[in-house]
């Protein structure tokens, strides 16, 4: 472990970390100059468009492109025949980009054209004749698991069940996480609550549709400009799918207009490259919003059963979860992560979580912020709330009594190090929101949530310029202000001003491999690599100063951005500043640079607790969020404004998921609401001010104590809002979204029950 020693040099006092300077890309973004995915163009550029299946499930007998190819202005048409079939891990990715024998969902790409104008491309799409044999379809997870359901893949037999199934099914695999003895645990419980829940699929809902500009020559050399969370991922995947050498494809990450996990895979990029290769021209492809909804994202829809038992004095004795997640037309729903995270907030002796990964005729699910965790957390936190009410215990106290802490064996196996769940619960309990008076039809709810956070492959270079400024190159697209954090960490470490550092996201040919910006990893991992690169520069600068003074290198220390003679030489020479050493560098040995590459680990798990108050109109089911407060452990907030922003953004997405966002399928298997009008993400007037408390329990694996923060914030909101709504209306809500028709239905059903 090369890092252990260096990380031991933990910093706990800071000059710049924790301040709120203006982000380096800010002026470009407020003036409209920043260039996003769709903002690039190239000489001779063509426009690429995709023909998509109108059927949820259909065999593709034949595709006739002759008429489209003959249309004036059309320069290339591609179909499945232009991509080599394969049998490895990338097959599903390829088939999702371009259907092969079957169209597996409404919106599945079937063919694509490149033409001189968008209008000609549109016209060409209408001239492509696809011979479909329409097949029965299934879009609901429970329906897909029933015997007799239409089978999407006749070669799929459920993995990990004994005995091995003899018939194909839509269940790709089963998984299980368990500790202790569930039966014995429930036997010890005084009160047991068991409930079934459903959640609808939600989309990441980034405002920028997928876009790229591809240019690939007949020599196999090419480049793409693309909005993505990971340009190295784009490079490696596209090179593999198109049979190119990795080194010949150069990918530049544009500014990215949101991703939330949805831009961690390829959709149009291999298609654009294929069209460019075939036409010999640059090809620009930009998805419409309709395409974004029908053919990218979303997350899984789910069906879950949760059972938890507690003693009267509030100790949970056992917890059990059955989770069924559909991940669209291909295996890979995040059910395993759901099963691992479901009970992670609790210190439990007896716990069991079983997950089923199910396929249906929906778009292939893509990662969405803490993939798999929010749905399970909604269900578990609803049951925890109900249990607290049953034993008449304050919901914070009930959680505190069972909260995971350092040394707790997590429900998914490993033992927790230092974590901050208890601090978030105590912060929420102490917040005025927890005591604000509630009026009629108002309710309060809270919920906790957990996410792992990941780190991964990371590589940065820090170049020192002659004038004492620094050019920092990272390989992780900046999705929410991370360049500001990088500048802060470099400046802090080097002892120079924030303004002296400029951070860029380097293209794939300028810097070594970096994993995708996902798993809440960037401030942790690129930050760690930045700090280590800066420390390398400091080491070199001390050596240069030592040479200049004619003393030994280990007789020089670095303090406040200066090299100082130390030990017996202390005071013998005037300290040399960063700027002075930089200015002299060409005479003292050449350019100064630091570099660090690492497969980072230890992004530090994180916990959050959310509290919210709602008011529900009992006659219409309309829910207004009145107050919202978040406490989350950030380890160490580098730029607190952007940490708060991550908290608030997660809460707002959670408000949408809880109340109104959902994929609605018609009986025909077609998506009914593929637009922002009817896929209802929260607007400004749907949200209150969102109060935030940053808890800082340092992560021992980062020199400054940083933990990932981006994803955890979407785990608790649905539980918190469901608990608040249920309190307001006096009926337990078991389905997401809690849209007005569902709330009115729940209320009417209760009235009917009372009348019976």
């Amino acid at each position: 472990m090369p890092l252990e020693g260096d990380i031991a040099q933990r910093k706990t006092t800071f000059k710049q970390i924790g301040t709120r300077p203006i982000r380096p890309d800010g002026v470009d973004k407020v003036t409209g100059r920043a260039r996003f995915g769709a903002d690039a163009s190239a000489p001779g550029m063509l426009i690429g468009k995709v023909l998509r299946s109108p059927h949820a499930h259909a065999r593709i007998r034949k595709i006739n492109t002759a008429k489209a190819e003959a249309l004036a202005g059309v320069k290339a048409v591609v179909t499945r025949d232009d991509f080599k079939d394969r049998n490895d891990a990338l097959r599903d990715v390829l088939v999702n980009c371009m259907a092969r024998d079957k169209a597996l969902y409404d919106g599945h790409a079937v063919a694509a054209v490149a033409a001189t104008t968008a209008a000609i491309a549109d016209k060409a799409l209408k001239l492509i004749v696809v011979d479909y044999e329409v097949l029965p379809h299934v879009t609901d997870v429970d329906e897909a698991m029933k015997p007799g359901a239409p089978i999407l893949d006749k070669t799929m037999f459920t993995n990990n069940v004994e005995p091995k199934p003899t018939k194909p099914s839509n269940v790709a695999s089963r998984c299980e996480f368990a500790l202790g003895d569930i039966k014995a645990g429930f036997a010890k419980a005084d009160v047991v609550v068991e409930r079934s829940f459903k959640t609808e699929a939600t989309h990441q809902g980034y405002i920028e549709p997928h876009a790229c500009l591809a240019n690939l020559g007949p020599d196999g050399q090419g480049e793409i400009w693309v909005c993505t969370q990971g340009h190295y991922m784009i490079r490696n995947t596209c090179a593999d799918l198109l049979g190119l050498d990795i080194s010949k494809l150069r990918v530049t990450a544009s500014e990215i207009g949101g991703g939330f996990g949805g831009k961690t895979t390829v959709f149009i990029e291999p298609v654009a490259l294929a069209l460019s290769r075939k036409s010999g021209r640059p090809v620009k492809m930009v998805m419409t919003r309709n395409e974004v909804f029908r053919a990218t994202g979303p997350t899984s829809s789910t069906s879950m059963r949760i059972k938890v038992g507690t003693t009267r004095d509030g100790r949970i004795t056992a917890a059990e979860a059955d989770l069924r997640y559909q991940g669209g037309a291909f295996p890979g729903s995040p059910v395993e992560l759901g099963a691992m995270t479901a009970f992670a907030c609790y210190d439990l002796e007896n716990v069991k979580a079983v997950g089923y990964d199910v396929i249906t005729n929906r778009p292939k699910q893509a990662a969405y912020r803490a993939p798999g965790a929010p749905m399970a957390a909604f269900a578990v936190e609803s049951v925890i709330d109900e249990l607290a009410k049953k034993i008449r215990m304050d919901p914070v106290d009930f959680r505190l009594k069972n909260a995971a802490k350092q040394g707790t064996k997590s429900a998914y196996g490993p033992t927790f190090g230092p974590i901050g769940l208890i601090q978030t619960l105590e912060a929420i309990k102490a917040h005025p929101n927890y005591r604000a008076p509630l009026g009629p039809n108002q309710g309060r709810g809270l919920a906790s949530g957990f996410w792992f956070n990941f780190a991964g492959q990371t590589c940065t270079t820090l170049n020192v310029n002659l004038d004492g400024t620094v050019a920092l190159a990272v390989g992780t697209p900046d999705i929410g202000g991370s360049r500001a954090s990088m500048c802060l960490m470099a400046a802090e470490e080097l002892g120079i001003g924030y303004e002296q550092v400029r951070t860029i996201v380097a293209d794939t040919s300028s810097l070594g491999y970096n994993d995708v910006t996902d798993g809440s990893r960037v401030t942790f991992a690129s930050g760690l690599a930045t700090i280590m690169a800066a420390r390398e520069v400091i080491k070199k600068m001390c050596a240069r100063a030592a040479k200049t003074w004619g003393i030994s290198a280990d007789a020089v220390t670095w303090e406040d951005g200066q090299a100082k003679p130390a030990g017996s030489n202390a005071g013998n020479f005037k300290p040399m500043s960063f700027k002075e050493i930089a200015a002299a560098s060409h005479s003292t040995g050449g350019p100064l640079a630091g570099h660090h590459e690492i497969n980072a680990d230890g992004a530090g798990v994180s916990f959050a607790t959310h509290l919210c108050d709602v008011e529900v109109d009992p006659e219409t089911g309309y829910t207004r969020v009145l107050r919202y407060t978040i406490a989350q452990d950030a380890g160490k907030a580098i730029h607190p404004s952007y940490v708060e922003g991550q908290f608030q953004g997660g809460a707002a997405q959670g408000i949408g998921w809880a109340l109104n966002e959902e994929y609605i399928y018609g009986k025909d298997g077609r998506l009914q609401n593929a637009g922002f009008l009817d896929y209802r993400i929260p607007v400004a007037s749907d949200c209150p001010m969102i109060d935030t408390i940053i808890v800082e329990v340092a992560n021992p694996k980062h020199p400054y104590g940083v933990r990932g923060v981006g994803e955890t914030s979407i785990v608790p909101p649905m539980g918190a809002i469901a608990n608040a709504v249920s309190a307001a209306i006096g009926v337990r809500m078991l389905e997401l979204p809690m849209s007005p028709p569902r709330i009115v239905h729940a209320l009417d059903s209760r009235l009917k029950k009372a009348a019976d």
């Binding site: 472990m1 993995n159 990990n160 069940v161 004994e162 695999s173 089963r174 998984c175 299980e176 996480f177 990441q204 991703g259 939330f260 996990g261 949805g262 961690t264 395993e336 992560l337 099963a339 691992m340 997950g355 990662a367 969405y368 912020r369 803490a370 993939p371 998914y412 196996g413 490993p414 033992t415 927790f416 190090g417 996410w451 792992f452 956070n453 990941f454 780190a455 991964g456 492959q457 996902d518 798993g519 809440s520 990893r521 497969n599 680990d601 230890g602 694996k701 990932g708 994803e711």
Partner: protein, 80 residues
């Protein structure tokens, strides 16, 4: 001997064995031993996450495993 436990899918792939004792100094050695005992896991062992004493590692062959370490092999994991 480090105590190695299998999580989730891996556990059922390995016939629901709860705990395995292996003599290994690094994660790579742990994975090699596990692969020898359970060839059924070989196709997936390249992609798993490994938790050593509570710390989760992905693709980290050389992370140290102590004789008294608690090791969890977990399914491949990714975030958004």
């Amino acid at each position: 001997m480090a105590r190695v436990m299998l999580g989730g899918t891996l556990k059922s792939l390995a016939g629901n064995t709860p705990v395995l004792e292996v003599d290994a100094k690094t994660i790579r050695e742990v994975l090699d031993r596990v692969g020898e005992v359970y060839p059924s896991l070989l196709p997936i062992l390249d992609r798993v996450a490994v938790a050593v004493d509570g710390q989760i590692y992905r693709n980290q062959w050389f992370a140290a495993v102590k004789p008294d370490s608690e090791v969890f092999i977990l399914p491949p994991m990714a975030g958004g």
